[in-house]
Structure formats: C-alpha cells, structure tokens
Amino acid sequence: MSNLLNDDVRRQVREAFEQLQEPVQILFFGSKEQCEYCDDTLKLVEEVAEISDKLSVRVFDVEADAAVAENYNVSLTPGLVIAAVGEDGPIDYGVRYAGIPSGHEFSSLIQDLLLVSGRDSGLNEQTRDFLANLKEPVHLQVFVTPT
C-alpha cells in the first residue's frame, strides 16, 4: 500500500516536529462495522507518528474495547484522542477528533500534537481565569470539512 503522506509533506511535518517537547500518544478508535474512513485514518496517524520518536499510537476498537471507548467518551469512528504520556498511562486533556483529519484538518492535527506536547494552551489570561473556575463541564464540537 502506498503512503498517504508524500515526501514533501513528510519533510514539512518533520520540521514542525522539531518543536515537540513531551511525548504524545494518539489513541485511535476504530470499528469493524461501517467505518469508511477508519483504515485511512489509522494509516494517516501511524505515518505521522513514525516521523518522531516522541509520538506513539494505540489502537482500540469501539466494540471489542467498549469499556475503553466509554472511558474516553468516544462513540464516533474513526475517533482520535490526543493524549499526553504520564507515568501511569495516557493523560487525557479532552482533545478529540471524530472523522479523518485530512485536508485542512491535517494541519490542525499537527498543531494539536504540538499543543499537547507543549502542555500549554497558549490562551490569554482572561480565558485561563474563566476556565480555571469552571464548576460544570463544557463540551465543544467544532464541525469542519476537509476542504
């Protein structure tokens, strides 16, 4: 099977990954049932993870690993959780993808890997203050298309 990322993209990603700091783990959730983009998504994140030894991928199936999927609140496939790596396993910051991160979303994925790796949101003080005092959960879903 041919590569999804061409040499040029791979080179650009490698350059961006020079900024990687702490290790990051991509948790991939697939499904055997009706998941048109699962194979490509897994291949994509594996190709990305190959570029840096600070990145790794763990593969789950929402049916076979139902408890894990529920624990991470993942139901849509392909699903990705971009997690930091702690001593006792992945540290989940709540960074998720539903669907293949291709096209525009590919650069978001790269930015997110850098974000989680740096472990700093980069947000302004006002936003940080508000979020620090949240008493109830906030759930955001950003609908996007690849093109």
Partner: protein, 65 residues
C-alpha cells in the same frame, strides 16, 4: 484549534473536531449549514465561522451563566 486549546487548559472542557460529511446524522441534528460551526454543550448554543478567542469565551460564559 481554539476549542482544543480550551480543552488543554481545563479538565472541565472536552473539545472534538467533527468531520461533518462523515457524520451526517449529527450534522443534521445541529443544523450544520456551513463550516466551521462550533456547537456548545450539545446545542445550547452554536457559533458559525471561525470565531476569535474572546468571542467564543463570551459565548461559553453566556451558556454557563
């Protein structure tokens, strides 16, 4: 990206990028017509377009108030 930055900042925030065309039922449920479209707390509010940090913050504040 902004939504993910917020998730990164707070344990109370979960943020998901949803590829709209792959999940038509969900997109229909929230009446997604254009992208990006940010759905806050399962439809409590919705912001179409790429919104700046202050604006998304203000909207979340309103939803949480």
């Amino acid at each position: 990206m902004l939504a993910h930055q917020m998730a990164m900042e707070s344990e109370m925030v979960q943020a998901e990028m949803v590829e709209a065309t792959e999940f038509p039922d969900l997109s229909n449920q929230y009446h997604i017509m254009g992208v990006p479209d940010t759905v806050i707390n399962f439809g409590k509010s919705k912001m179409v377009g790429a919104v700046p940090e202050g604006q998304l913050l203000a909207e979340i504040m309103k939803v949480m108030a």
